[in-house]
Symmetry: C2
Subunit: 196 residues, 2 copies
DNA sequence: ACCTGAACACCGTTCAAGT
DNA sequence: ACCTGAACACCGTTCAAGT
């Protein structure tokens, strides 16, 4: 019986189990509270076991960030497929809600302490040219980093302001509607009027 | 001779020495790289000595944040006294430049992991009513946390975007001028047009 | 190939003891 | 009153050894 419980870890899915447990701990305790030994304990494995799958704590954090960017990109790329009446507003809303729903993961994704060994997998907007969807029309690649060419900057700023509690949402307010309105206004004005 | 070197620490300025050294290490290594034992070593004192002056690492971090807010507030309050032609632009520029010049301290000041035991000393805009300067005309107290009532939110967002590298400044660009222009535009439009 | 156990050099924190 | 030395329970990381 104990064999059936431990069996999966001998079948190659310890890496996934570690990542899943790590995501939960990260969101509950924050990055500082995510210890490699705690993680190994949570998954029921020895303290040294994670080192078969990750080069160390920094590598684990980067792997978490990469899965974060994958989920984030997937969520953003799903929006145009639904043909919403206001595409920009819908994508901005998804952007901000992802940040609020995955606060610590989002913070980690944009943390300056990330090693970013797998650079292109740790960036938004995605740099690959293979996906010709609405994103490429809106998103500009890294090199052209002029403020004018970064329409997502405003939305990112809004997300961070909400995360930092710098913009507080009053009790009883319709969070989603408020965010949608702010995002809509920001994105509409951004290219037309504002230099950011 | 060794007496003259160690003497200051017996005269009551170990606390200040710790804070000064901590600020340097924080800016060089980031919050994660600021260890209590490293700090004690850097100041030439035993590992237990800091505990006479701070309740622990969290308390030291909060003390750092408090001095950060003090310096920040002082810098901001100095602007109106100089009677600049465009007060808002000047204050916004000071805000953003402080963030860039004290990146890790600024991040710590708004970090969600801050204990904030001394709550009013860990906030911007300052909550005290004692200083009737231009700030009180612009800054709104915490309770009224509506997006509309937070003109500093946009500037804070810009600061974080620059810190995160989400808005990159191209090589050869006039950083100060660029920031000043963005800040000026943001602050002017904020109360009039935008809901943030 | 994948995991364990024990070890190493560290932490933050506490506490008796020194001056 | 302020600091030291030694100790405690932890870390992240490494490495021989197990299966």
């Amino acid at each position: 019986m104990s064999t059936s419980i431990n069996a999966p870890y001998h079948h190659g899915n310890l890496r996934r189990a570690l990542l899943e447990a790590a995501l939960i701990i990260l969101e509950r305790e924050g990055e500082a509270g995510l210890g490699l030994r705690d993680l190994a304990r949570a998954v029921g494995v020895s303290a040294a076991a994670p080192y078969r799958h990750f080069d160390g704590r920094a590598a684990l954090l980067e792997a978490l960030a990469v899965t974060g960017f994958q989920r984030f990109t997937a969520a953003m790329e799903a929006i145009p497929l639904a043909n919403p009446p206001d595409l920009m507003a819908a994508m901005g809303k998804t952007y901000v809600l992802f940040a609020l729903d995955n606060a610590n993961l989002f913070r980690l994704m944009f943390s300056p302490q990330l090693k970013r060994t797998a650079a292109p997998a740790c960036a938004w907007p995605p740099t690959r040219r293979s996906k010709p969807c609405a994103i490429s029309a809106v998103a500009t690649p890294r090199p052209a980093a002029s403020p004018r060419s970064r329409p997502w900057a405003r939305v990112h700023g809004l997300a961070v302001l909400l995360l930092d509690g710098q913009i507080a949402i009053r009790a009883g307010e319709d969070t989603e509607a408020l965010i949608a309105e702010i995002v809509r206004t920001s994105l509409r004005l951004a290219p037309a009027i504002l230099p950011v």
